[in-house]
């Protein structure tokens, strides 16, 4: 392997296209987190009084806990199969920056769990009694928050890649780290529903997303390399 023929951008696009194609061939697995999100947000009204005022109060919590858990659900499979069949090793050896390639894989996770969730969240929010005017705020917060959640979660997935049954361990690792995203995301959604200005929590969410996009690939590459040894 002297000089790679493709650059990082080309390789990343090819990797994303490959992972998306694989995910589409197994659309059942791919849609599971989305269905999980809808079920979780449906459970809240069933467990509570279905009063609109009460639902409106808990809507941010329901949306964000649902988003956090459904993002977690798909993490387990993020690296597992590629680690088992040797794809990750080839990626690590191919001479391109490993961080960039793993960032591409993380982007696929976001495209498959984060983006659909952002698109379907208005539906769940309306079912929970949020007014239409709140939708841009809720969507913007989820857009930024799911990016950060995918990046933070990917580090956890990389660390637990080589552990056999890692579902609950992954949750224990990732959920405390995701607390800031949860706090500011739910806060932004609550402000949006109340019709108040929500720039402050949105800026903080954006800051967390940028920080995660900067630092998470480094930790991720280190974690995956350890898992491959």
């Amino acid at each position: 392997m002297s000089v790679p023929r493709v650059g990082l951008a080309g390789a990343a696009v090819a990797l994303i296209a490959r992972d998306l194609r694989l995910a589409l061939r197994r659309s059942g697995d791919t849609l599971q987190p989305l269905g999980f999100f809808l079920v979780v947000t449906t459970l809240f009204p069933l467990a509570l009084d279905p009063q609109l005022s009460l639902l409106r109060d808990i809507a941010p919590a329901a949306l964000w806990v649902g988003a956090l858990l459904s993002s977690l659900l798909a993490l387990d499979l993020l690296f597992r199969e590629d680690a088992q069949d040797g794809t990750l090793e080839q990626l690590a050896l191919c001479g391109l920056p490993f961080q960039g390639l793993l960032l591409a894989k993380t982007a696929v996770h976001w495209l498959l769990t984060g983006l659909p969730l952002v698109l379907i969240a208005p539906l769940a929010a309306i079912a929970l009694g949020a007014p239409y005017e709140a939708m841009p705020g809720i969507v913007a917060a989820l857009l930024l928050g799911t990016v950060a959640l995918s990046l933070i979660g990917a580090v956890g997935a990389g660390l637990t890649m080589s552990v056999k049954r890692n579902g609950s361990l992954l949750a224990l690792l990732v959920l405390p780290l995701a607390v800031p995203v949860l706090i500011f995301g739910a806060r932004a959604s609550a402000l949006a529903i109340a019709g108040e200005p929500l720039a402050a929590p949105l800026y903080l969410l954006a800051a967390i997303a940028v920080l995660a996009a900067t630092l998470a690939p480094l930790a991720l590459a280190a974690a995956v390399r350890i898992g491959l040894e």
């Binding site: 660390l159 080589s162 361990l169 224990l172 780290l177 607390v179 800031p180 280190a222 974690a223 350890i226």
Partner: protein
């Protein structure tokens, strides 16, 4: 060379001997400082004008909370040293920190709850400091969970080191986000400590307890790190020699007798 001490420190036999010698040098001061702090705090210090005798739990609570953070920083730094220089000793120290730190965190939480009952009227208040302490406990538990989930010691060392470093970047973010979250929700908590206004009769025992807890942590860390090295290096020749040197020799020639540890192989 200036770095010789560093590399010598990283050699398991040297660290094992040094740690064994240092344990009493931290252990006894810890006992004396804590004894002095407890006498000063529980008997000599005057009751608080607002909280009466209830405030005296601070002499356990504050040092435990202080150490819960300090231990995490020690754990993450030694994990980073282990990751960068591939030092077994540093990894062993980091691994030993986790249980100690989790215990101090649990102690700080428990005493905080006991304190909250008479002062706030409830065991649990979603106070920023209590909440971030709870999240710190989860971080410790995650670290320990990741370690125990991996069979291979070397891989567990490096993976948990990455986690500890990620955690130490996140601890301030989590802490401040919890503060902002809470300040947006409710008024500042009832209790505020005016640290500078604390009279010397209350402050000196607190400082004694802080020093005592820190010395206790160091002594405990050395004991645990020695144990960790015993487990990791049980096949090494120096370990057999070190154990034979410290255990009293049986009267019969040692060639045929198994020693008390049962792990020692003839070299």
């Amino acid at each position: 060379m200036a770095w010789v001490w560093f590399h010598r420190f990283g050699s398991p036999p040297h660290f094992y001997r040094l740690a064994g010698k240092l344990v009493p040098w931290f252990g006894w001061p810890a006992a004396l400082l804590c004894l002095g702090g407890l006498i000063g705090g529980l008997l000599l210090a005057p009751p608080d004008y607002q909280q009466g005798d209830g405030f005296r739990i601070i002499y356990v609570h504050a040092p435990a909370a202080w150490l819960s953070l300090l231990v995490y920083v020690v754990m993450a730094s030694s994990a980073a040293v282990g990751l960068i220089w591939r030092m077994t000793v540093a990894h062993a120290v980091a691994a030993s920190c986790a249980v100690i730190g989790a215990s101090f965190t649990a102690l700080a939480l428990a005493t905080g709850m006991l304190w909250g009952r008479p002062m706030w009227g409830t065991y649990w208040e979603w106070d920023p400091r209590l909440t971030s302490e709870l999240l710190l406990l989860f971080l410790y538990l995650g670290y320990m969970g990741l370690r125990s989930a991996m069979d291979d010691v070397g891989r567990a060392d490096r993976a948990s080191a990455v986690l500890a470093i990620v955690g130490v970047v996140n601890v301030p973010i989590i802490h401040y986000s919890v503060i902002w979250w809470n300040s947006l929700h409710q008024a500042p908590s009832v209790m505020k400590f005016g640290r500078p206004t604390m009279p010397a009769a209350m402050l000196v025992p607190l400082l004694l307890m802080l020093a005592g807890f820190s010395a206790y942590f160091l002594a405990l860390l050395l004991v645990r790190a020695r144990g960790e090295l015993l487990r990791r290096e049980r096949q090494a020749r120096w370990m057999a020699e070190a154990l034979l040197a410290t255990t009293p020799r049986p009267p019969t020639p040692p060639s045929s007798t198994p020693t008390a540890t049962g792990q020692v192989k003839p070299c």
